[in-house]
Symmetry: C2
Subunit: 256 residues, 2 copies
């Protein structure tokens, strides 16, 4: 059955965009039809998939404000079975504009309803905050994927995020669950990485994927070529880890 | 003369908190009286300076909403000449609460006015967004310090940030200028870092500090001990770079 997954964490720079882009690409490579919704005003996922600013149309802003329907705003990425609703600079003003609208927290959920008939997976790349954009994503989603950088500050924000997810589950979206926690930018040479990973596994058990994404410079080079790491360098450690993560995610889904 | 500096960049994880904490510490070590205002609901600067959650008082939330004055919310850090207005979890709801208030964009500017009589420098650590909290900081500030991670995605967001600063200079704060751009997490071994650094210097010239902050694991270990890198390991490359940055900043100020 189709699944809408919010990729969220209010801590900045933890690998939300990188995970959304590369995991979505990995799943499309094994024949799943995948849509990415770029809900970050920075538009990194759109850039990371090579969409020039001038060719993004109304994007996720028009979808949220209801001026266009899903079919009008979906763009192709040039990668088979992978499409995107890009982000435009208008999105920076969306949170203030949404405040006065009816059902301001359910707009994305309504707008994405048709996606379930077309795609196997929808990934929503969230901005680094718990404002109205991320709240819309959490209410539209079936589950949340939480990229967690193996750093101390990133650990600190986890309880705030899990608290917000729990609150929205009770007030707006009873089916919302944790898809999984992905440890990112893991560096085996430094003991802090290992301590954070052990700490998170100790608290959250098998909600944490076995697959860890290593810090790997090829991953951070790929966006400047407008292509996912998997296409930029499919043999690098980062690409292999994201393929492995796609496999682990599918295996867990099959075992549900 | 006293100077209020907003440490801002809507791109997440670029080193805003690390720069605010370590630069403020460096300046206090050379006899400047420094205040940090933690305006990020995550509260990383408060944690990085060892303030337990239970001992934070009303914090920056009370200051913004006007329920307490500056003197009531300032806390000591245990470091001579360095004080902090901590962040509390209430701050997560502040943006929505501010929307309906009078002068919602000038509240921090008014609240920090008394700071000019007490401190030589005030650093405001901003969250990773351009919402009402960061707008309040940019209107309260004399200048903006922009930490910029030497990565492709971080470069993409710079023009959006500079555009917002320019707009606020015209509408709300005519004196607002760029204090400087700090290149962070520079890794000489990878060519992407060098390309980004050269690109930024090419566009922005001497607005970019000569001092670059190297990627250094001791810097990311320090917050788990509740202390700045300078006190955790004053000989590490990261601490030395922040001392150098403090020196460069003071030298530039003297030359103005
Ligand atoms: N495994 C990795 N190895 C090396 N660099 C990485 C890796 N994952 C992400 N990066 C780089 O780290 C930076 C932060 O990653 P990314 O932008 O995906 O995080 P984010 O959580 O989406 O950030 P934001 O909070 O700003 O949206 C980027 O420059 C990215 O290229
Ligand atoms: N020079 C450095 N070397 C190594 N690690 C660093 C360095 N500077 C910052 N870090 C680490 O990188 C991560 C991001 O830095 P930091 O939290 O200061 O960024 P930020 O811009 O404040 O993030 P946010 O956008 O979430 O507020 C932290 O885990 C921090 O410890
Ligand atoms: Mg992102
Ligand atoms: Mg921060």
């Amino acid at each position: 059955p189709p699944r809408i997954i919010a990729v969220a964490n209010q801590k900045g720079g933890v690998g939300k965009t990188t995970t959304a882009v590369n995991l979505a690409t990995g799943l499309s490579c094994v024949g799943k039809r995948v849509l990415i919704v770029d809900l970050d005003p920075q538009g990194n996922a759109s850039t990371g998939l090579g969409l020039p600013r001038a060719a993004r149309g109304g994007g996720s802003y028009a979808l949220l404000l209801g001026s266009e329907s899903l079919g009008d705003v979906v763009c192709e990425t040039g990668i088979e079975d992978l499409s995107i609703v890009p982000s435009t600079t208008d999105l920076a003003g969306a949170e203030i504009e949404l405040i006065d609208l009816e059902e301001r927290t359910q707009r994305l959920a309504r707008a994405l309803a048709p996606a379930r008939r077309i795609y196997d997976y929808v990934f929503i790349d969230c901005p680094p905050s718990l404002g109205l954009l991320t709240v819309n994503a959490l209410i539209a989603a079936d589950s949340v994927m939480v990229p967690l950088q193996c750093e101390f500050y990133a650990l600190e924000g986890l309880s705030m995020l899990l608290g917000t997810i729990e609150r929205l589950r009770q007030t707006h979206n009873p089916q919302l669950e944790i898809q999984g926690i992905v440890l990112t930018m893991y560096d085996g040479r430094n003991k802090l990485s290992g301590q954070v990973a052990a700490d998170v596994r100790g608290h959250l058990g098998d909600k944490v994927y076995n697959t860890m994404i290593p810090r790997n410079v090829r991953v951070s080079e790929a966006p400047s070529h407008g292509t996912p790491a998997m296409f930029y360098d499919h043999r690098c450690a980062g690409s292999l880890a994201y393929m492995e993560l796609a496999g682990e995610m599918l295996r867990r889904e099959a075992g549900r």
